[in-house]
Assembly symmetry: C2
Homo-oligomer: 408 residues x 2
Amino acid sequence: MALIVQKYGGTSMGSVERIEHVARKVASFHQQGHQVVVVVSAMSGETDRLLKLAKAIDPKGSAREFDQIAATGEQVTIALLAIALQKMGVPSRSFTGWQVPIRTDDAHMKARIQKIEPEALLAACRAGIVPVVAGFQGITEDGSVSTLGRGGSDTTGVALAAALKADECQIYTDVDGVYTTDPRVEPKARRLNQITFEEMLEMASLGSKVLQIRSVEFAGKYKVPLRVLSTFVDGPGTLITLEDSKMEEPLISGIAFSRDESQITVTGVPDKPGVAAAILGPVGDANIEVDMIVQNVGADGTTDFTFTVSRGDHDKALAVIKKVAGELGAKGVAGATDIVKVSVVGVGMRSHAGIASQMFKALAAAGVNIRMISTSEIKISVVIDEMYLELAVRTLHKAFGLEEARTA
Amino acid sequence: MALIVQKYGGTSMGSVERIEHVARKVASFHQQGHQVVVVVSAMSGETDRLLKLAKAIDPKGSAREFDQIAATGEQVTIALLAIALQKMGVPSRSFTGWQVPIRTDDAHMKARIQKIEPEALLAACRAGIVPVVAGFQGITEDGSVSTLGRGGSDTTGVALAAALKADECQIYTDVDGVYTTDPRVEPKARRLNQITFEEMLEMASLGSKVLQIRSVEFAGKYKVPLRVLSTFVDGPGTLITLEDSKMEEPLISGIAFSRDESQITVTGVPDKPGVAAAILGPVGDANIEVDMIVQNVGADGTTDFTFTVSRGDHDKALAVIKKVAGELGAKGVAGATDIVKVSVVGVGMRSHAGIASQMFKALAAAGVNIRMISTSEIKISVVIDEMYLELAVRTLHKAFGLEEARTA
């Protein structure tokens, strides 16, 4: 008799037949006596189709209007799933973001959830109704429709689970769990039975596309047990947990990578206090997320400053930086979009020295040149040329023994 | 410096190019200093595509969920048009039904507008912004999305014009005005420069598809000057006016017809008070609109009762009636869907006797058999077999001299 939030992605909602399949899964939980709240994405490809229409008119059109359009994708699937559930005798009702309501800030196309008012959903649950909620969307203070950005439906699922104090948030997708790395790049990749929130956070933020990063942050912050599993294949999936100290942790739990990287370098900046802020402030103001930041001191009292942003933000960031560079008296600005990031992730590396040198040695032996390095407590990332991606991932997967069964 | 509400239909919004064409038309009015509020339909075919998805799951699915789905069609086009206007330098903002808000009753899929709160739209106009409003939709008291039924965007346009006290409501469509009859059936059909609300009401309700009937009712009730004109061909269109007694009215202004007719007959009903109510009450309760009603007294103290409904409601109405017929002790129930209605319409017939006999004589001479007759002050309708439709329309068009120029 648990309260479960289930989130189904675009592939799971991709056709009438698949929606009926999802309805049978939901109905089965409902008939076991569980309270189920469902969150769904748009049919796969639909959001792209809608935004393509808008971009055909103006690629730089108003983000508010883009959101107005994109949000219709989920508005269709929630109602289709509610109809399918009703047909199976399960009382159901669809809820758009504004009907819940899910309140967000007004950063259109990458809005953040500020507050979910759970009363309407809880009332539906008490009445035996399965609410089907639109993922990816919300409503701003001025009553506009907002979207959370790509992958935002996961965040909606976890945020709802937190607001409803759900027992578990299940993320159904087209893979059956979290893997040590992408099996398309390394066929020896292995499904993990569980992974900590911190590791998952690094894996997700580094481009393992299973879960959207903000959903994992949310889940960790509100201690929502999160499970990733397949819509199409039955199985336990991967449980994402708070750290369990009883386990014998391996050093490394996975190799993550991201192709969606680009680099911007400002050369010959006068080396004085406030330079980093002067460069990155306008980038942040333009709502561009910066990932890695590296600064090297030069010989002549100037410094070179490099940072990475997603490829979609590259041109916008470059334009911002060119303006700033002039004001700062920098020598030049250069961009690169043919780069990728590869990372080793694991809570075990906290208590083990030498992971970094083991990583760099393995890459060097394979002839992979490293452009940038960034480290945190539980991950080490390198930026390399895109052509070396597969080689680097396979080399590291083997170097850290990830093809063998994990002790757990 | 007028306030104009312009409504563009699905054909006008049928592609990115057409939306840009509409944007140029709107921008031109805006640049002349007029305040413009735009109402749009979904892209042609889109509402059908969406409802087909829902019907693939359950043809008898919840009307609330069907509305949730159908309303997305306009949510896309309002934002596309707003983006196109902004690109041309015209400040614009899209409004869904709930964002206006347009409040309706909860008769999903055929809701009626109860109240429009015009403050947000007027504030936008004052700020020099062109609001683009979703036609066909609104919000119910419990916060659900509702739709007004097919053609409802016209009603939205007129209701908005009334709420905003607009100077004119312009309905842009793919025809350049109101014709004496459908030119596809009678090539000699002629565009009318103007027509009265009452005539238009009869023409629209009888199936001249130019305007949706409720929009004309609204326009007449709130005295909103209404103009029908073409999106694609410049011209004055047809102005729909209050009756102008200075004009020399012709007898008949047009021949209307409707293919969307079906007939239900209850035979051998005991002829006693309350029978009509007992038959039609449950039909009304099922939210089915009844059009013509004919009752004949039989010889044996029983009566035959016939009425017409739209073909989409035929099966539903037949099911309701079969139940009622049993309770009433009727002899039998019969339905027919291969029938059509043809009508002559004109305010002039008020002061001229003999129109009916002229009409029946012309039909008889052409060999058209009449199944039912119904009359009002300004129209005479007959129900005939579908196979006679074209013959009847052409015969009447000629009999009443409609191919000649109207005196005005």
